[in-house]
């Protein structure tokens, strides 16, 4: 029979062995996989396996999180960089990391129960229940740019998940464009939609759907007009050709550039 002490010792050994990673730090690591939820004594961890290794993607926090957890029932595109931080929940930490919820896949349904050896060794930004009275990342918002004056010009970049359109993360960005255009009495809004691509770590390149640049550009125009920004002339265009992908910061290719003048 294994005693509790021996079990704990084995667990620690396991954790140590897992810590001896053969994955080099700062290495771009891009893959498509099923996300995994691992519960802890506080908030759950989100993980994914790739090439025989387990990666830590993010924690459950709240709506202010810079990285939002993915979704069971769907595959996830992971675009990350291996960090030197200690493993979290048994996974190699990818930081920074960008996650895209992909197509539905009923096989992506792994929920792992809490185990003491995987409990967090730090206080999470947000507990699973009520907060302490502030959003988890409320203080990380960048300072507002200077107020525009009439005739000002500014370029805004709206970023997307893979094959994604406008979602809950975009309300703030759209409000920024709207407010600038109103304050600056904008005459023209130029919107250019882009189609992205990602080079995966296995050498494969995946590209977004052919019409995504058009959809993104037209949607931004529709949303701004829907918010009653009807004074400026809209100049809407898009790029059908996908961006070139090299596996480094490929997420930046999924964007719409809005120039307000």
């Amino acid at each position: 029979m294994v005693t509790p002490r021996a079990t704990r010792g084995s667990a620690l050994l396991g954790v140590w062995l897992l810590s001896v990673s053969v994955v080099a730090a700062q290495q771009p690591t891009n893959f498509v996989s099923c996300p995994i939820v691992r519960d802890t004594a506080s908030v759950p961890c989100w993980l994914a396996e790739y090439n025989g290794e387990l990666y830590f993607l993010t924690l459950q926090t709240d709506v202010s999180a810079p990285v939002n957890p993915p979704s069971l029932g769907h595959r996830v595109l992971v675009e990350g960089t291996v960090s030197t931080e200690p493993r979290i929940c048994g996974g190699i930490v990818l930081k920074p990391v960008h996650l895209s919820v992909l197509e539905r896949d009923a096989a992506c349904n792994t929920m792992l129960p809490a185990e003491e050896r995987y409990n967090l060794t730090f206080e999470p930004p947000r507990p699973p229940g009520p907060s302490g009275g502030r959003l988890a990342f409320a203080n990380s918002a960048p300072a507002s740019p200077p107020a525009p004056t009439t005739g000002s010009t500014r370029e805004f970049v709206v970023s997307y998940s893979f094959d994604g359109l406008i979602g809950f993360t975009h309300a703030g960005a759209l409000t920024g464009i709207l407010n600038f255009a109103r304050t600056a009495n904008a005459r023209e809004i130029e919107i250019v939609g882009h189609r992205g691509a990602v080079r995966l770590s296995n050498g494969q390149t995946i590209v977004e759907e052919p019409t995504i640049g058009k959809k993104r550009a037209e949607q931004i125009a529709m949303l701004l007009q829907g918010a009653n920004l009807k004074g400026p002339a809209y100049k809407v265009s898009w790029r059908d050709e996908a961006a070139t992908a090299d596996g480094v910061d490929d997420h930046l290719s999924r964007r719409v550039v809005v120039t307000v003048r």
Partner: protein
């Protein structure tokens, strides 16, 4: 559970209604045109004690007041479906009492929406089964939907009628294939009270909907974004728009409310607050040193549109006094204290009991992950009401299959399902619903009938938690007859695993709000 109605069940509830009325007395019915003034503060008995109705502007003369007068063609007034004794909503118990008292002649049962469909034979309870059994009013919506300026929205999905027990959705005059294509859904009247919370301009209200990035509906008078938490499908952005729409649709007012009528209605709706004030077991809920969560006066004084899903403000601030109360030789005091402790425990279940929330549209899609380990207060986070602070439509499965109540048919039961059933198919050029796929079966497409969006199918704006004891049944489709059934739905939907004690405590807590 799906409600089944037959002549037998109708006779059953009539008998039960009469028996209950004989024991406890009927609910006071506020008839249109009743010139009785509405007191500055009044209480009305219900099965869980009494609900309080507070007029912050003092006693209201209802004679000539457009909220209380039958200003439309069918003899109804706003108060018909927003009864003070029912927490400014309408309980199914009151509906049944009116049927008994008037033989179905009360304007409440008007054919336009108090029947399952206007073409059905009047005065037959089967023609009114959704109102009599679930307290549901027919809501007829144009298809495809239209923008506020009247232009047609190109919906992301097609919709077919799979089942039509009331006959309205397939009717040649009223249905989807009629000259004016219309979809009929059946919904509970919401409480017209505590409206500073449902119409707040605070946290989460901006030009773009916080959960989707789409443009927020604006106040047509001011152009300001609204919270879109007023109606179950958020189709009316303001009290004024809702009043005009309701006067035309439900009161059959020809023409429009005058500016003076509109102002009087809105002013009244902004001054009235409701909440439970007493409980037979727990006694007064509004003692001077009691928990600040309770009673309409606390609601009137509270801050609107602020987050309470935290340990600084709380959704329903209880304090700690009721957590542990003394026991004495007085059995009555002990029983009261035990009931109060149950309410306090129920609050803690609401606030702190985690469970996995999964596949709920507009919750699991807003950055928390799917699933997310959270609590009731995650969604029901607005201080003092349990509303959402941001635009609050969400799909928890009350109308969408597989979670909506659908009892499988069998050869031993002649009863048939009451609710309509629609098949929604998301068009090929649109991404399928992330949790339900491309084909969705629903009893009520909810917000999607207004937005035309696949991701909105079956999403319903969550309700405030106030006056619940006065206005059963619950959920927009009245599918939970009691608070226990409401709790059981969540327990089943999210595999929460509540203990019997947790369920009872939660029911006692909700019943005290």
């Amino acid at each position: 559970m799906t409600r089944w109605i037959t002549a037998g069940t109708l006779a059953g509830w009539i008998a039960i209604t009469l028996a209950v009325s004989a024991q406890t007395g009927s609910r006071p019915w506020w008839a249109p045109g009743d010139a009785t003034p509405l007191a500055d503060f009044a209480t009305y008995q219900n099965d869980r004690g009494a609900v309080g109705v507070l007029n912050t502007s003092g006693r209201l003369e209802t004679k000539g007041h457009p909220f209380f007068e039958p200003i439309g063609a069918n003899g109804r007034a706003c108060v018909t479906c927003h009864q003070p004794a029912d927490a400014m909503s309408l309980s199914v118990r009151t509906v049944r009492e009116r049927w008994e008292a008037t033989g179905g002649k009360d304007p409440l049962f008007a054919a336009v929406d108090g029947m399952n469909c206007p073409h059905l034979p009047p005065d037959d309870p089967r023609s009114h089964s959704l109102l009599l059994d679930r307290g549901l009013i027919r809501v007829a919506l144009p298809w495809p939907p239209r923008n506020p300026d009247g232009t047609r929205i190109d919906p992301e999905f097609t919709i077919e009628v799979v089942r039509d027990p009331g006959g309205c959705n397939t009717h040649r005059t009223y249905g989807l294939e009629s000259a004016n294509p219309t979809i009929s859904v059946y919904r509970r009247p919401r409480p017209v009270a505590n409206t500073k919370y449902t119409t707040h301009q605070n946290f989460g209200v901006g030009p773009f909907i916080a959960k989707s990035g789409l443009p927020t509906a604006t106040d047509p008078e001011t152009g300001r974004p609204t919270s879109m938490n007023l109606m179950s499908d958020a189709r009316a952005p303001t009290l004024a728009v809702q009043a005009q729409d309701a006067a035309a649709q439900h009161l059959q007012l020809t023409g429009r409310l005058t500016a003076a009528q509109l102002a009087a209605i809105v002013r009244f709706e902004q001054q009235v607050y409701v909440a439970q004030v007493s409980s037979p077991a727990a006694g007064s809920l509004v003692e001077v040193d009691g928990p600040p969560a309770f009673g309409p006066r606390q609601l009137a004084a509270g801050d609107a549109g602020v987050l309470g899903n935290n340990t600084t403000r709380y959704v329903f601030p209880m304090g700690e006094k009721w957590n542990r109360l003394p026991r004495t030789a007085n059995e009555s005091d002990n029983a009261r204290n035990a009931a109060r402790e149950s309410i306090a425990r129920g609050h803690d279940v609401f606030m702190f009991r985690t469970f996995w929330i999964r596949d709920s549209m507009h919750l699991n899609t807003v950055g928390l992950g799917n699933p997310t380990k959270r609590t009731c207060a995650t969604c029901h986070g607005m201080h003092m009401t349990g509303l959402d602070t941001v635009n609050g439509w969400m799909d928890i499965g009350t109308t969408n299959l597989p979670w909506a109540s659908e009892v499988p048919l069998n050869p031993w039961n002649e009863a048939k399902p009451q609710m309509p059933l629609f098949r929604v198919t998301c068009k090929p050029e649109v991404k399928p619903h992330p949790y339900l796929g491309r084909v969705i079966y629903t009893q009520d497409p909810g917000r999607a009938l207004i937005s035309g969006r696949c991701n909105d199918v079956g999403t319903i704006v969550m309700q405030q938690f106030r006056g619940l004891s006065a206005r059963a049944p619950y959920f927009s489709n009245g599918s939970a007859a009691t608070l226990r059934e409401l709790v059981d739905f969540y327990d089943r939907r999210y595999n929460i695993g509540y203990s019997d004690q947790e369920k009872q405590d939660l029911v006692n807590f909700l019943g005290a709000l």
